[in-house]
């Protein structure tokens, strides 16, 4: 199919384009020079007065896998309040507000103009499940991050100080379960939770039975990822998430990167940093520590972040931080799920309501925005709500509005807890994100942080034809004043093109298509590979309850796969 998008107001920060009126031409699923497309044969979209940007990329959203599904099972009431009707030939049905079913996820993302999502926490032993769900999410491209934080092989090789083996194992696991990067969640807590412990574990607490500290896990995996040369390296949910005063642990975690050189891209991505930016000692005197963290992030180019912005209302928290979910269960006293994955990690799920009048929730809401506004480099910032922990991803347009309009922030703050607001600096921040910055933190930055900037996150020739067209003219609308218009436009893209096909027209989907699953294949030296594989086979039989042959997710099992090969120095 040939498409010509005419006269749109284009923002393409990766190619330095900031609000130029220009044409975009698409052929065979790729962006091509406009000469290659015949306007008489092509499908022409009149994008006059409309914002044209690359498709959005959500770097961190819990949408597929065993804990996400368990979240669905335990929240039937969430499924009754939000449904999607079956339209034969056009869209499948579904249900769910904070724990949506697969059709609903793909449908809501594509209508918002997002074309790629990353499931950030999959237990390797159940990765086949994660992939089955990702395969059933329509429209978007996807990838998943396997969990490494309490992995017995990692712990063993760290204890033996065998850095090459750590790197080789990471490469092997990423390739075997078709993952994209290393995910660490509250390193060490998952293993401690195997004995019912691990609440509030900090960087220097020894993990029971292993003689290894969380600090070691982070340091060794950072080192391994740098040597493997994989683009997105360590994606970390810091220790002590959710505890007052935890910002100090976050600072220490950031400082762990200082012994490594500054490379062409960050080496550590701190996810949903809002939950790890708390000052104070107790819930009673909680305060925002966003300034301390922003200062550190501004100083240290090795670190990137995503927000974990809180949205008021009843949400469903689900993380691999099983001990913390146990704490949350005792606060909410209603439903709680916890699952352990042998030799690997754990997870917990608890429904939770964020209230506007709550002191703590008010501070949480402010922190997410504060950090985004205080960090100066938008290329290291990505919007997220840690869906569904902080809120549903469908609220991203509101977050954009809060970042681009002080007035929008003020409107919300009028209804919040006053004592809480006094512990935050958000009321005094005037900065408003520009159109370019908004496009960076939702598209260009995540593409670059994932190492996919050749084909994703931009509209230059050679990029995948993933384009979002919004019915709002950046030259006419002042987002600071008319943020309501901004939200309205960003909620329902006028057109969305995915892989060179028009899938959303006038805000409604036209047909069902499926994207591809991306995974990383780091190639290491064959000798190392062989010796580590032999060790894996030996220990796997003793530790695990399944056979090694079922552990591998084969390419034939997935709908459509894109391999990203990386030749490493290991």
């Amino acid at each position: 199919m040939e498409i010509l998008i005419r006269n749109g107001v284009v923002y393409d920060p990766l190619n330095g384009i900031e609000g130029e009126v220009m044409d975009i031409a698409i052929k065979d699923g790729k962006i091509v020079p406009t000469e290659k497309v015949d306007p008489k044969e092509a499908y022409v979209i009149d994008a006059r007065g409309m914002l044209v940007v690359p498709g959005g990329i959500d770097l961190h959203t819990h949408v597929a896998g065993p804990k996400v599904n368990l979240g669905r099972v335990m929240r039937p009431e969430d499924h009754r309040v939000s449904i999607l009707r079956y339209i034969p030939g056009r869209r499948h049905s579904g249900s769910g507000k904070t724990t949506p079913s697969t059709t609903v996820i793909g449908y809501r993302y594509i209508r918002m103009g997002y074309t790629m999502i990353i499931e950030p926490a999959s237990p390797p032993i159940k990765s086949r499940h994660t992939h089955e769900e990702l395969d059933d999410i329509p429209y978007v491209d996807k990838a998943m991050l396997p969990l490494f934080d309490s992995n017995w092989f990692i712990l063993k090789f760290i204890r033996e100080d065998a850095r090459d083996k750590v790197a080789t194992y990471i490469a092997w696991l990423l390739r075997t379960v078709k993952g994209y990067a290393v995910k660490l969640v509250d390193p060490g807590a998952g293993e401690a939770w195997g004995w019912g412990r691990g609440i509030g574990i900090s960087l220097d607490d020894e993990i029971p039975g292993w003689g290894v500290k969380p600090r070691d896990i982070i340091e060794y995996t950072l080192d391994a990822c740098i040597r493997l040369g994989i683009p997105h390296k360590v994606h970390i949910h810091c220790n002590r998430l959710g505890f007052p005063g935890n910002y100090e642990t976050t600072l220490e975690t950031i400082r762990l990167t200082e012994k490594f050189p500054i490379l062409d891209r960050p080496i550590m991505h701190i996810t949903h940093i809002q939950f790890n930016a708390y000052g104070g000692e107790t819930w009673g005197n909680l305060r925002s520590a966003s300034e301390e963290l922003a200062r550190e992030i501004n100083r240290n180019p090795r670190v990137s972040i995503d927000l974990g912005q809180v949205i008021f209302g009843t949400q469903t928290t689900m993380t691999a931080d099983a001990p913390y979910e146990y704490v949350l269960y005792h606060l909410t006293k209603w439903k709680w799920s916890s699952t352990d994955a042998e030799c690997e990690c754990a997870a917990g799920i608890v429904p939770y309501k964020y209230r506007k009048k709550s002191y703590v929730n008010t501070i949480q809401w402010c922190i997410g925005l504060e950090i985004a506004l205080l960090v100066r480099d938008p290329w290291r910032v990505v919007i997220s709500t840690d869906h569904p922990n902080g809120g549903p991803f469908t609220r991203y347009p509101w977050i954009v509005a809060w970042l681009m309009s002080k007035r929008a922030r003020d409107e919300v703050m009028k209804k919040l807890n006053e004592r809480g607001l006094r512990k935050c600096i958000l009321p005094s921040i005037d900065r408003e994100y520009t159109w370019t910055e908004f496009v960076i933190i939702t598209r260009a930055a995540p593409a670059k942080l994932l190492g996919l900037e050749k084909t994703k996150g931009h509209l230059g020739v050679g990029a995948d034809a993933d384009v979002a067209i919004y019915d709002i003219d950046p030259r006419e609308v002042d987002p600071s004043r008319d943020y309501e218009k901004l939200i309205k436009a960003l909620r329902r893209a006028k057109y969305v093109i995915k892989g060179g096909e028009v899938v959303v027209k006038d805000g409604e989907v036209t047909r069902v298509i499926y994207g591809s699953t991306y995974y990383i294949n780091p190639v290491v030296s064959p000798d190392l590979e062989k010796s580590v594989k032999a060790e894996i086979e030996q220990w796997f039989k003793r530790w695990y309850s399944v056979s090694l042959s079922t552990y591998e997710v084969r390419i034939e099992e997935l709908r459509s796969v894109k391999e990203v090969k990386v030749i490493s120095r290991v």
């Binding site: 599904n69 669905r72 724990t99 079913s101 004995w195 699952t339 099992e557």
Partner: protein, 568 residues
């Protein structure tokens, strides 16, 4: 003599479940196990025939002596004979009363009730063995077993040509499925016409089946648990297009567990955690030595784990209404009165939460034993509660499981504790998982309004059949004629019935249309989830018989035809 009837699985029933028409199946399943003292009072000995009567029906079966003591309780294996007398009422939970039913047992001279009287419209379709095809000898290692929820994936399967000739490491149940894979097969599509089945070419039967489904207003698509996730994912699309109901066998197995998870969540772990860490193993209302034979040796009390290993380092506790095989292996056996598990679970919770118990006994268990068990649980380093149909099927239904989950949640204040349901079919867990991510609900999903809805008692297939709400039924990869109460089975006989199955099941003997399929895990690949949600790839070790397709291919053809007809 008045007794309380409990139904459940036994090894023999599992061994012959793939050929329910056989003498072996009848000999194993058309039976009632009586306590030896009760037998003396009744004046019967092993092999005599008795009539078992309840307010819901009566049936004649053979007497067998129960291996342990169970005075006042009689046990019948799950199957069509037991289902003639169980209470069909689900109390709004979807799960009929399969246990704890008052029955009268008396000696009789009548013959054992034949299947033709238990299965309405009973007509035997042409069934045969797959012809042997010579070929090279092959050995497959790390094969996953397609029988029970253990999904042991360490099997070694020897194949010669198109026959499995030897299986290593499987239990007798798995071995039986592999070694008999070529027996009791239906090898052509059939349609019932009058008093016989006539052969119909595949394309034609797909067309007729699609026509039946399109013309129905509220079809039920049932089963799924003995097939792959790939098949289920197409089944959902089909149910959605038809505006019908899709449900799997959990409805009469661990559906109540799922309903309990909806209320309070669940605290669980994968089986490797148990193997490596658990020092206290509780089997409540389940008998792994009848239905999950390698459970102990692979995952629990006999397994060698990383932090702990061997039988003597682990404690085993069994709670049941009668002394089962696993009870004999236990360090502590607690006999609970039928239909009173809820009280015992609640009493344990009270003790764990330091509340007083003001009674001398709970559910027939002396209060000292309650304190003893609570103490064992609190002082364990890593405890696990495995539970089964003993508490999902009895009074309280899913509230029993809510109590069990809350007990485990409470125990986490003291120590590490998890619970794992003993799922029956090898892929009941996978099909529940897939149903949930595709629709938002794990089972009993109705699409009549154009979007998924789930209401226990209303959209559960047992209730739909008991009320006679559906006007067409498609059964795949399961045998509800053998496992649903008689009244539900009769309801299935009143509407067009389509069966997709590799074997001549009892439901096939009732069917109007039969489409034979390949056996997942032996003749075709697929994904199945173990009882602890670990996804395992089922293998293909022999070619399917000529013309026999896998489930997902058949379903896809039906779906395509249905969409074609709906577009017109």
């Amino acid at each position: 003599m008045e007794l309380i009837l409990v139904t459940g699985r036994i090894v023999e029933q599992g061994r012959f479940v793939e050929d329910k028409i056989s003498h072996e199946y009848e000999n194993s399943v058309a039976a009632v196990f009586l306590d030896e003292e009760d037998m003396k009072v009744l004046g019967v000995s092993e092999g005599d025939r008795v009539k078992v009567r309840s307010e819901f029906g009566e049936v004649v079966v053979k007497v067998k002596r129960a291996k342990g003591r169970s005075p006042g309780i009689c046990f019948m294996p799950l199957g069509p004979w037991a289902n003639a007398v169980v209470r069909p009422d689900t109390h709004g939970s979807g799960m009929p009363d399969f246990k704890g039913i008052k029955v009268v047992v008396e000696k009789t001279g009548e013959e054992v009730t034949p299947l033709s009287r238990l299965v309405p419209k009973y007509l035997l379709p042409p069934r045969t063995e797959v012809e042997k095809v010579p070929g090279p000898e092959q050995v497959f290692t790390d094969v996953a077993c397609p029988f029970c929820g253990c999904v042991c994936d360490d099997l070694v399967v020897h194949v010669v040509g198109n026959r499995v000739v030897k299986v290593e490491r499987a239990c007798v149940l798995g071995m039986s499925k592999f070694l008999n894979h070529y027996r009791n097969r239906i090898l052509k599509p059939y349609k019932r016409q009058g008093d016989k089945f006539i052969e119909v070419p595949y394309e034609k039967i797909v067309d007729e089946v699609a026509e039946v489904l399109v013309n129905s207003k509220y079809p039920l698509l049932f089963g799924w648990s003995s097939s792959s996730n790939e098949a289920l994912r197409i089944g959902v699309k089909l149910a959605e297009a038809l505006g019908g109901v899709i449900d799997n066998t959990a409805v009469f197995c661990h559906g109540p567990t799922i309903l309990a998870e909806q209320e309070v969540g669940v605290v669980t772990a994968t089986l490797g955690q148990i193997k490596n860490r658990a020092d206290l193993i509780i089997y409540w209302g389940c008998n792994p030595l009848a239905a999950h034979l390698r459970h102990g040796v692979r995952y629990t009390y006999l397994a060698q784990g990383f932090f702990i290993g061997g039988r003597k380092n682990r404690k085993v506790v069994v709670v049941d209404v009668r002394e089962t095989e696993i009870a004999k292996v236990a360090d502590l056996f607690i006999k609970v009165k039928p239909n009173k598990d809820l009280e015992l679970l609640r009493a344990l919770r009270a003790v764990v939460n330091e509340l007083e118990l003001e009674v001398p006994e709970v559910a027939g268990v002396p209060v000292e034993k309650v304190y003893e068990l609570a103490e064992l649980m609190i002082s364990a380093r890593f405890g696990v509660l495995f539970f089964g149909l003993g508490i999902t099927m009895t009074r309280g239904k899913y509230w029993n499981i809510v109590e069990a989950i809350r007990l485990v949640q409470d125990l986490n204040k003291w120590t590490k504790f998890v619970l794992i349901p003993m799922r029956g079919h090898y892929n009941v867990t996978g099909t529940n998982a897939a149903l949930c991510w595709l629709t938002g609900y794990p089972y009993a999903i109705e699409f009549a309004k154009g979007y998924p809805r789930h209401i226990p008692g209303l959209t559960t297939s047992t209730d739909i059949l008991l009320r006679g709400d559906c006007d067409a039924v498609l059964v795949i990869a399961s045998d509800p004629a053998a496992h649903m109460p008689k009244r539900a089975v009769e309801s299935m006989s009143k509407v067009p019935l389509i069966v997709i199955d590799p074997k001549c099941s009892l439901t096939a003997c009732m069917a109007d249309y039969i489409i034979p399929s390949a056996i997942v895990g032996i003749e075709c690949e697929g994904t199945a989830y173990r009882m602890d949600h670990v996804p395992i790839r089922m293998r293909k070790v022999v070619e399917p018989p000529p013309g026999i397709r896998p489930d997902h291919v058949i379903l896809y053809d039906i779906y395509a035809k249905v969409m074609e007809k709906l577009r017109r």
